[in-house]
Amino acid sequence: MALTEERPLLELTAGDDEVRQPLGSFRRPTSTTGWRSWITTVDHKRIGILYGATALTFFAIGGLEALLIRAQLAQPNGQVLSPERYNQAFTMHGTTMVFLVIMPMLAAFANYLIPLQIGARDVAFPRLNALSFWIFLFGGLFLYSGAVLDQIADNGWFNYAPNSGVLYSPGHGIDFWTLGLQIAGIASLLGAVNLIVTCINMRAPGMTLMRMPIFTWMALVAQFLLLFAIPVITVALFLLMFDRLFGGNFFVVQKGADPLMWQHLFWIFGHPEVYILVLPAFGIVSEVIPVFARKPLFGYPFMVFSGIAIGFMGWGVWAHHMFASGAGPVTVAAFSLSTMFIAVPTGVKIFNWIGTLWGGKLQFTTAMCFAIALVSQFTIGGLSGVTHSISPSDWQQTDTYYIVAHFHYVLFGGSVFGIFAGFYFWWPKVFGRCLDEKIGKIHFFTWLIGFNLTFGPMHVLGLQGQPRRTATYADGMGWNLMNLLSSIGAFTIGVGFLIFIFNVVKSRNNVVTDPDPWDARTLEWATSSPPPAHNFDISPTVSSLDEWWHRKYELGDDHKLHRREHPESFTAATPPENIHLPSPSYWPLIIAAGLPFIGWGLIYSYWLAGFGGLLTFVGIYGLVLEPSVDPDAGHHGHADTHDTHEPEPAAVVAGAAEAEEDADQ
């Protein structure tokens, strides 16, 4: 990965003075290059890159798990994996892809792009942002740390009670799962608060809400969904954890508990989660398509409001995951109808994308190919979704491969294709280097074919009655051919991923000279590629949607658009002198490092938990008391009256308090 390569110096701190800490223990980090600068960074762009790199690594792991699954199912009575290993594989595949791949990849885009798109210097709370990333990383590492001890969750990513109880899952796999997701949940919650405040409060002058780029909008809606959905799964995870570790009775049927409680809590979170995973990807393609169609997005207000509508309606459909669980007909009917109607705003988006393509002058770059593929493939997922919003037919289809096909068309054909459109599109912005277009095309077609070959046949398998989550199937069920095709497709996707990695490695030498290679529309392209630490030399002022494009083009007397000779950009000839940015810090890393110890401690020994709790607690105080801007770090002048040891405002105390809360439980 071209992540640790030499990048232009972040002109953040000039002096290398040694600064005393509030807690007096160790020196404040000052480096701007090398690994130390990466683990202490509070720059939203670097954090975005860290998110992306971590998520890609987990993508490889989750992909390997998928290949194991498909190898096992390639033929009847497969012997590649034992049933136990198979169950672990599909559990970790689902958990990884949802929580450790798609969510953080979208977080990567949101972190990197939102401040740039709204013309801000950074997010609202840069240090909290770093904390979110490290907590996410340690959550993911914790989740996988059980594998070292052969304690791997094997009850599916949905982890239904009561099979998740100690009685039926006596190992510690589920404990690692529960605690790992709780840790990752803290990261998502902090990130959501941070980005919401950023979108609302950090916009450049003139950047009204209805001038915000569509990606920022969709990411904002997703952050609201996270804000409200994370606590629901937190409740469920806590209850399960108390059951397993402290002998609680929440899901113990013998004590009168109702197993459907878990399902309700899980899916109240789980359905908004689907939109958390897909809305930002919609945002990405809504940015990509107009650029390569050389037209503005068709119906921007409709796109915004349909996104908001999806966000709201996403809260009223969770029970469609439970049509066969035993709810009464009134409930089933109500959720059937609400589920059907959530297709309406989704349909609006698809037709508006087609509207954007229509009459344009389409340029088929790899990013555009992925974006158009999203429109076409996601439609399939959406339509199969409508067929099982009809709850009677869902009674046939739920828990079969038809559902597996459906949500992979949504999450792979939707989210992942969107994410890779984003990769190809913003790679030059982020790294100043282009991914190769030829290799990109090969990657794209490998994936398009592999993807359809993997998940297309699953529709048929599901309708022919193959249940999902089965480690094996008998010969003579009529499923052999489709399963074989599907497995071939899965390995094709694997090859495609390797091609992508090859492209990434190769991109090192593919330096772009034009900071705006695609002739794009939004503010992030109005600064250098990669952008300086302070994003814009001159703070932007905004007067329209697609501000950058309007600065580049004007309508001539001949009613044609003409490119201005020197569009007003936000880069200055001489570097600006009075920009204060928060200084790097070790504390986010330290706070986050305490959390896995708390987890291991709760499972194995409270002493470890005490140590972890102490680490986190000290870290929180360190972060809170440390001035956000290092007073002794050199700035280019001190035009601002902003100096000395100001204690960090309380919001950070409060935000961190909730990390502490987990420490205390």
């Binding site: 009685l167 039926y168 006596p170 609302i200 009204t208 809400l209 209805m210 809606v221 609201f224 409200f228 629901v232 049927v253 013998q254 004590k255 009168g256 109702d258 459907l260 309700h264 109240i268 915004v304 409001f305 908001i308 966000g311 709201f312 809260w315 009223g316 969770w318 029970a319 709810a327 009464g328 009134v330 409930t331």
Partner: protein, 124 residues
């Protein structure tokens, strides 16, 4: 979501806050309501009692939020954030209680506790 197209309505907390004495009055009011609640709590619960208890609860909640948390004086945006949370919570959780279970009554769909078999010996 809650803030769409409403940014012009928000502004700093320019309003004068209540005086200390007013805060004390509010607290006294809360104390009185709490007293009333406790008295009602000792009555045999019927629909009317439960209804008035819930009403008093909402009144107390709103009083603390509006006065002590300054929602009365502060930006509308804060109110929207908080209300979105409250309404979503009320919506989804009441929906659970109404659909799969029963709220303030007995759940009849379950098997009586003594009919549930003891756990089987699972050794894995």
């Amino acid at each position: 979501m809650a803030i769409a197209a409403h940014e012009e309505t928000v502004h700093g907390s320019g309003h004068a806050h209540p005086s200390d004495l007013q805060y004390v009055y509010v607290a006294l009011f809360l104390g009185v309501v709490t007293g009333a609640e406790i008295v009602l709590g000792y009555r045999h619960p019927n629909a009317l009692i439960i209804g008035s208890l819930l009403t008093l609860m909402v009144i107390k909640f709103a009083t603390v939020a509006l006065w002590f948390m300054h929602l009365r004086f502060d930006s509308l945006l804060f109110r929207r954030f908080f209300l979105t949370g409250i309404l979503l919570a009320a919506g989804v959780y009441i929906a659970i209680m109404m659909t799969a279970f029963q709220f303030f009554g007995n759940d009849t769909t379950s098997v009586p506790l003594n009919k549930i078999p003891p756990p089987a010996r699972i050794t894995r």
